[in-house]
Amino acid sequence: MLHTFAISASGMTAERLRMDTIANNLANANTTRAADGGPYRRQVPVFAARETRVPGRPGRFTGAGVRVVGIHHDSSPPRLVYDPHHPDADADGYVAMPNVDVVREMVDLITASRAYEANVTAFNTAKNMAMRALDIGRA
């Protein structure tokens, strides 16, 4: 039973990290000088299903939630904006802006938020069931 709480918690942690990443992408939507020099590049968290180490027989449950494999950079090219007076403009007057699409980030934000809520619901269900099990002892 307690294992279930860990599963739902891993889901909440992963979705929270996705929200953090989105917030960072939005905050840097206009950053032209990232740590590595060029314009900021959109960050994407990569998720993978987590399984318990014990090799399960067929029909046995080995799931243990979700884990974040890493945060990767979106490799799509930067957005070019014509702004000759910008200090980072090239010889032709174009500025390389981050490859962050604000609308897309907002969509991802809603997805992450809803997924987080779904994990909370699963968590609460497990809690209610555990309370029911405790009620048996009180009968």
């Binding site: 299903a49 449950f61 699963a122």
Partner: protein
């Protein structure tokens, strides 16, 4: 008293199966955004039905060397992976509405089973306490 213990065993199995179903569903929900993840489901009721059908004809074991006939079939929940219902580009087939429905059903079922178990213990206690009168 034999029937009493047997029903308790079925209730225990059912409680554990429903708890496992909740756990598997939580795992599905945690992986709603994991590419290529396939949802898992718990098969239990079909097995119970099959065991019940087999138990309709059962041999009594009155001697330790008798072979069990009927009843003794092993009922254990099985976790299966569903691979046929993919409808998203990332190969993930978790449908959040469906998972929520399974979750709600599991919660209700668990509450009902727990209530039955509690009622049976109350019955047992009243039988014990009223016996001396």
């Amino acid at each position: 008293m034999r029937g009493f213990a047997q029903l308790d065993e079925v209730l225990r199995l059912a409680l554990n199966a429903v708890a496992l179903r909740q756990q598997v569903t939580a795992h599905n929900i945690a992986n709603v955004n994991t590419p290529r993840f396939r949802r898992q489901a718990v098969r239990f009721e079909e097995q119970l039905q099959r065991a019940r059908r087999r138990a309709a004809v059962s041999g009594a074991t009155t001697h330790p060397r008798h072979l069990p006939v009927g009843t003794q079939s092993i009922v254990a929940p099985r976790v299966v992976r569903e691979t046929s219902t993919v409808m998203r580009n990332d190969g993930n087939n978790v449908d959040i509405e469906r998972e929520m429905a399974v979750l709600a059903a599991a919660e209700t079922q668990y509450a009902a089973l727990a209530q039955v178990v509690a009622a049976r213990y109350r019955m047992l206690r009243s039988a014990i306490s009223q016996g001396g009168r």
